[in-house]
């Protein structure tokens, strides 16, 4: 009996201690910056600008360039915000949207948390455009509102790009090019190159092929050779080849693209998809439907992570199959395009 009573007392003490430790841990939870390569820097965020984030860790200030930031987790942010971020990272956008919907904006007192919340909302909306759940106009409006309110956010250039993407989906290439043009102001060559590639893509979509090739050529002519810059060059190469294919010029494009595909990591889904789609365009221009089909099938079956790329491949496959008399396959492709990417311009293209 005596030992039993003592046991209860000890258990209670343990419980109380654990609770106290938990509370203390909660009060002291640090901020974290997660970088593009997956590293975490924990500490207290001291300063944020559109070019960098300064975090004080172990008494020292560490400056991380904004383009290296994958995301920021604030120590005192609500767990729902954290959960939404994780879901976005896993591309579970609908669930992320639902989780964000459960956060009451007025309950967010801290400015930096409000900023993160607004950014995640814009990201979710941008990603829902492809499926048609959100109109590009609404996504653009949300992103614009974020940019106006948070001019110094480290997500600034990301948001600028999102704004351009939404404008392009709205059919307003001029605005898109304007937005992408701002990426030239970023202090990182890769972002500048990305801006040029995106402008090239927008011009290509508008049929201004000469001008688009000019933009891609600018990227290809740059001397930067970091992996990130090479990545942009791959995208430029794909865009350029697609433009030339549209004008019936396929000389040497195919072998160069094939070589580039082989050199590109299979895990870089976006670049692989762009290269394969461009390869498909070249084969189409060469009147080689079978190889064109194989190239687009690469995107459809292996490199389908990016909605825009996948939608383009589906659109092309539908046309190829239609021409080849494979009606059922063509209908399936059209249905997938409408169901998954009904909001993209590919789904609306005749």
């Amino acid at each position: 009996m005596k030992y039993a009573a003592m046991g209860i007392r000890i258990s209670c003490a343990v419980v109380i201690l654990v609770h106290m430790a938990g509370a203390a841990a909660q009060a002291q939870r640090s901020d974290a910056v997660i970088t593009q390569d997956g590293n975490q820097v924990r500490g207290r965020i001291k300063n944020v600008s559109k070019n960098s984030v300064t975090i004080t860790a172990k008494g020292k200030d560490e400056v991380i360039a904004a383009n290296e930031v994958r995301y920021i987790a604030l120590g005192n942010e609500p767990s729902l915000l954290r959960q939404a971020r994780r879901l976005i990272d896993k591309e579970d956008i609908n669930e992320a949207s639902a989780v964000l919907g459960r956060i009451e904006p007025s309950s967010l007192e801290d400015e930096s948390i409000r900023q993160e919340f607004a950014f995640l909302q814009a990201v979710v909306m941008g990603k829902q455009v492809a499926s048609g759940k959100v109109t590009p106009g609404k996504a653009a409006k949300t992103t614009l509102s974020f940019l106006k309110s948070h001019k110094l956010s480290c997500h600034y250039y990301q948001a600028v790009r999102m704004l351009g993407d939404a404008a392009l989906e709205m059919g307003n290439s001029e605005k898109a090019i304007q937005a992408y043009g701002q990426l030239a102001n970023a202090p990182w060559i890769e972002t500048n190159l990305n801006g040029l590639v995106l402008i090239g893509n927008a011009l290509r979509w508008d049929g201004a092929l000469e001008e688009a090739v000019g933009k891609y050529d600018e990227v290809l002519a740059t001397e930067a050779s970091s992996p990130a810059a090479e990545r942009q060059k791959s995208l430029a190469m794909a865009g350029r080849a697609a433009c030339l294919a549209e004008r019936g010029k396929i000389d040497e494009q195919i072998s160069a693209l094939e070589k580039r595909v082989a050199e590109t990591e299979a895990t870089d889904s976006h670049v692989q998809a762009c290269l394969n789609n461009a390869l498909g365009d070249c084969y189409r221009a060469a009147d080689n439907a079978l190889d064109a089909e194989l190239a687009y099938l690469h995107t459809h079956l292996l490199f389908f992570r990016d909605a825009e790329d996948h939608a383009e491949a589906l659109y092309r496959l539908e046309k190829l199959w239609q021409n080849d008399g494979r009606g059922t396959k063509a209908t399936e492709a059209r249905e997938t395009l409408q169901t998954k990417y009904g909001g993209t311009r590919w789904a609306k293209k005749p």
Binding site: E252, S255, A256, E258, D291, E293, L294, L302, G325
Partner: protein, 1024 residues
């Protein structure tokens, strides 16, 4: 219950189990190539997967290890494609796949895919046997016996493979268990144990399946089942508590059932009946046992009550919610069937029917093949309103409370539907006639609205007719009731709800067959079955088989019930079309004979049958070229005669009705048949008949030849070639006109590129044979006409494959003319020069990497070498061979071609090349060895290969004899070109080479004669 029905499910169980454990366990490869192939297959892109492998074979961008596995991957494609084709094609494909896996495993024992290849070999062989058994069921007589015999051979082969695998795994397990640290790797132990059990289970399943092909011999049949039963018994007793043991127990029961030991089987099933507290896989085994118990017991009418109790008890005991598995659905069907029997034989039929309905409805609504029987059972006791229960009634239709009101509304709606359908057709015809884009857009909008209207009206009409049936008074005349059901079936058919159309139409046709609408309803059922068959024949061959039986059944019903009606002949015509498409010629003839000779349908039927027979003949004749097939020339002749008679009868009968597409096609078939029969004059007169000649009609662009133009002019071209070959004159302008029409018909085709590609490829394939058959003058005439066509194609193609084929046509033409006319033929020189130019451009493109098709690169170099050699430019030819051999030095056929080119240069007055042909040339700076080997080294390498792999002798020995013989010929050539004092050493060497070859191989086949002849030549040279 026959073995066949049960066999289906046991084969399914076996196959599912086999799939679980034996679906190739290839380790996921890292390369995107492997991933891409896997994805292509998963999504059914099998021809694309083949094309992809073609590309990868020569691609510099994939790893060497992947390239090594290409033959394996090709075999996988073949095996996968067998899953979605008709049984006969599946058998052919699986046989080829089996051979390819076997060859791969033999040639690549160190490959990472070796084990997978062996596994595929086992799986494919057992599946091949199963498909042969399934096909045998639909045949009779010799065909069936042959298939059963072949299936037994394959089953035995598979059994050996599975037994060997079980033995291997057993040894591996024992080895692992004997090691002191065996317990450190429990996962490996578990994997090996599982694989071992699965091999044994499959072996037992094969023994069971081997019973059916031996059913004609009761003693062997029983022996086989007994063997299987013992196999299952051993497994069930050894592994009593494991899933495999329970499964074996159930299958043992199946064997006992087949042996007629029903009570013993029921005793075993009883052990499995309790599904409570079981994991899902056990629940499914239990459901199977319950279903079999019910089926067994239901055979005795006195036991139906007990059978029903088994099923009811099972559903009471089962926990969890997995009620939709195929096994549970099968149990529902068995229980529903038992209730149906009870309803027919016992009292209280309404209550029994209600209970049956409870179990059958979920099965009827499932997408399993069981749904057909469930629907039939439901239809057997359902009322007319039940058979249209699939039709949804909307709330506004439910407002209709009175039969007259409902039927009037339905009739009014039907009128509206007719008007809307008319509008739809009008829009469709306007659209096809209008080219103005603005007007087209307007029409398309109208078309869309009309389509929507028709769809809505059809659905509403269906709902109203169903409501009418619900509200119909009991004394509604049968004629009216039948008409309502027919209209429902009609609307369901046009709404693409074929299965529901069958259920409704069949009710009207069979139950109310005295009524006027019943015949039309029966025709709708026939049409619906036809559609269903078309839908399912690729995806679900088993279901398609069941549907085809129903199709034949309803046709027979129509023919018997209304023997004199025009619908009967229509039904027979449908059956003839069906049998023609399926290649079932015996049945086709039977149905053809049932159409009276004076019937207006007889002619159409003969035309369809004749065309089917002609297609079948062509297929069989092509297959007869393969020595492994057993198509006798007598059978071919008989078939040809029958085809001729059927087409002739049909054409004669239909001539009076005027020209139709079908008649023109039949005449074209007659012309093709005459060509095949070596009678080009008859073919010519058929093709150019002034009234019905397909060539004349096509020249006038008559609509009856639409889509046939390319085939018509191809026949005409062949006809003219045959006439030329027979020494008859064909005016050049007629020849030119045919080629021009043919080219134009290809260009007018919807997909010009595809047709041009196909045509050039076809010309290329037959060109040499055709040229060889022509006299020299005719060769030139043909070559000139064809060159004009090739020049035209050449001027506007970019596709490298097409360019390659065109260049190859030039080179074949050039080579043939040169062979006939000697070196001075101006046309031959021109053709070879054009070919050389094109190949050089392609080779340059390949070197730059801009050739779209990398697999062509080697072929381009090979052709370049050949054309250069023909043009007398031996150095350029050697450059091309060297280019290939630098990359693929051991490509034996290329080495042989290169040596032959050198020897041929020696034969043409340049004896210095004999030494290179014999000893090789083009020394590599890096290795110091000759890149082009020459005959001596070829013979040495091939001989060593035969020594290493004696089983490969058949494959290599021709190369060996060829190389030795030519080596000796080169020596003889050197001797004859040398001054008299230097001859002897070459002659001695030549003799030595011949003697060595003859001593090394006693069995030289036809080669001995050639060696003997050469020996005589050498001896004569010595004497002179």
């Amino acid at each position: 219950m026959t073995l066949r029905i049960r066999e289906n499910s046991i084969a399914l169980i076996g196959w599912v189990l086999l799939s679980l454990c034996l679906v190739p366990l290839r380790v996921a490869a890292e390369e995107p190539s492997a991933d891409f192939l896997r994805q292509l297959r998963q999504h059914g892109f099998l021809s694309q997967a083949d094309a992809y492998l073609d590309r990868m074979e020569a691609s510099p961008f994939v790893s060497a290890s992947f390239q090594q596995t290409i033959p394996f991957e090709r075999a996988v494609n073949l095996a996968e494609s067998a899953k979605t084709c008709d049984p006969q094609s599946a058998i052919n494909k699986m046989s080829r796949a089996y051979d390819q896996f076997k060859l791969f495993a033999t040639e690549n024992p160190d490959s990472s895919d070796f084990e997978s290849a062996v596994r595929w070999q086992r799986n494919v062989r057992v599946q091949l046997a199963r498909t042969q058994v399934a096909l045998a069921r639909s045949k009779d007589g010799k065909a069936r016996d042959q298939l059963y015999g072949e299936s037994l051979t394959n089953f035995r082969g598979a059994l050996r493979l599975f037994n060997a695998e079980a033995e291997r795994l057993k040894e591996e397990l024992a080895d692992l268990q004997s090691q002191p640290n065996a317990a450190d790797d429990p996962a490996e132990l578990e994997r090996l144990g599982q694989a071992y059990l699965e091999s044994r289970m499959t072996a037992a399943a094969i023994r069971f399946e081997m019973a059916e092909p031996q059913k004609e011999n009761p003693r062997k049949y029983a022996q086989q089942l007994d063997l299987a039963e013992r196999g299952y018994k051993e497994l069930s007793e050894t592994y009593r508590r494991r899933v495999v043991g329970r499964h074996a127990l159930f299958l043992r029961g199946r064997c006992l059932e087949e042996l007629g030991k029903k009570q013993q089987a029921l005793g075993l099933y009883r052990e499995l009946l309790d599904p409570s507290e079981q994991p899902p896989v056990m629940v499914n085994i239990s459901a199977q046992a319950a279903a079999r118990s019910i089926d067994c017991m239901s055979e005795d009418p006195r036991q139906i009550g007990a059978a029903i109790d088994v099923g009811e008890q099972w559903f009471q005991n089962v926990k969890g919610s997995d009620y939709d598995s195929p096994e549970v659905m099968q149990l529902r069907l068995s229980l529903g069937r038992a209730y149906c029997h009870r309803a027919q034989t016992g009292g209280n039929s309404r209550r029994m029917q209600a209970a049956a309905k409870k179990y059958l409805v979920p099965v009827a609504n499932s997408d399993l093949s069981l749904q057909v029987e469930a629907k039939e059972l439901l239809a057997s006791f359902e009322s007319d309103t039940d058979v249209v229960s699939a039709v949804e009634i909307t709330d506004d239709v439910r407002e209709l409370k009175d039969y007259n009101q409902a039927s009037r509304s339905a009739a009014a709606l039907l009128d509206r539907l007719k008007t809307a359908s008319g509008t739809l057709r009008l829009y469709q015809s306007r659209l096809s006639e209008t080219e103005d884009p603005l007007r087209r857009e307007e029409i398309e909008q109208g078309l869309e609205v009309a389509q929507e209207q028709v769809l809505q009206d059809r659905r509403l009409g269906l709902a109203m007719y169903r409501r009418s049936l619900e509200l119909a008074p009991r004394d509604l005349p049968a004629e009216e009731r039948c008409r309502l059901l027919y209209l429902c079936s009609y609307l369901l058919y046009h709404d693409d709800q074929y299965l529901s159309a069958v259920v409704t139409g069949e009710f009207a046709a069979r139950r109310l067959s005295d009524q006027p609408s019943a015949r039309s309803a029966a025709m709708l059922v026939l049409a619906s079955y036809f559609k269903l068959y078309e839908e399912r024949k690729l995806g679900s061959p088993d279901e398609a088989q069941a549907i085809s039986q129903n199709l034949v059944e309803i046709s027979r019903f129509i023919a018997t019930r209304w023997p004199d009606a025009k619908e009967t002949q229509e039904a027979l015509l449908t059956l003839i079309r069906f049998m023609a498409a399926e290649g079932e010629l015996a049945q086709l003839q039977e149905y053809l004979d049932r159409i009276p000779a004076d019937s207006p349908r007889r002619g159409s039927a003969e035309l369809i049958a004749g065309q089917a027979l002609w297609t079948h003949y062509q297929r069989l004749r092509a297959a007869s070229a393969d020595p492994s097939t057993s198509v006798s020339s007598e059978a071919l002749d008989q078939l040809l005669e029958r085809t001729h008679q059927t087409l002739q009868a049909g054409v004669e009968r239909m001539k009076s009705t005027g020209k139709t597409s079908s008649l023109v096609l039949a005449i074209l078939c007659q012309a093709e048949l005459a060509l095949d029969d070596g009678d080009p004059d008859r073919a010519h007169s058929l093709l150019t008949d002034t009234v019905l000649g397909p060539v004349r009609l096509a020249e006038q662009q008559d609509r009856t030849t639409a889509g046939l133009e390319a085939r018509i002019f191809k026949a005409q071209l062949e006809c003219q070639l045959e006439q030329l070959a027979a020494g008859k004159a064909v005016p050049q302008r007629e020849f030119d006109s045919t080629i021009e029409h043919w080219s134009r018909s290809l260009a007018d085709s919807p997909d010009k590129n595809r047709y041009v590609r196909a045509a050039i490829s076809e010309i290329r394939r037959d060109l040499k044979r055709q040229l060889d058959a022509l006299p020299q003058r005719a060769q030139e005439q043909f070559a000139q006409a064809l060159t004009r066509m090739l020049d035209q194609v050449r001027s506007d193609v970019q596709d490298s494959t097409l360019q390659f084929n065109v260049a190859d046509c030039y080179s074949i033409l050039g080579e043939s003319l040169r062979a006939a006319d000697g070196r001075d033929s101006a046309l031959a020189n021109k053709l070879l020069a054009t070919a050389g130019e094109m190949f050089a451009a392609l080779s340059q493109a390949a070197a730059n990497g801009s050739t779209a098709d990398p697999s062509l690169r080697m072929q381009i170099d090979m052709r370049t070498a050949r054309v250069m050699q023909q043009s007398g430019n031996i150095d350029a030819a050697l450059d091309a061979y060297e280019k290939i051999l630098v990359k693929r030095n051991t490509a034996i056929t290329v080495q042989i071609d290169a040596a032959r080119a050198l020897q041929s240069a020696g034969d043409q007055g340049q004896p210095e090349y004999y030494v290179q042909a014999a000893k090789g040339t083009r020394r590599s700076e890096s290795s110091g060895k000759n890149t082009i080997w020459g005959w001596e080294k070829i013979a040495r390498v091939v001989h060593a290969q035969i020594q290493r792999q004696p089983e490969q002798r058949a494959r290599y020995e021709d190369h060996f004899f060829d190389a030795q013989l030519n080596f000796a010929r080169c020596r003889l050539g050197q001797a004859l070109a040398a001054p008299p004092e230097g001859r002897q050493k070459y002659l001695a060497s030549a003799l030595r080479i011949v003697n060595t070859a003859m001593a090394a191989y006693a069995d030289m086949g036809n080669w001995r004669e050639e060696f003997e002849q050469l020996k005589t030549n050498i001896e004569q040279a010595e004497d002179s």
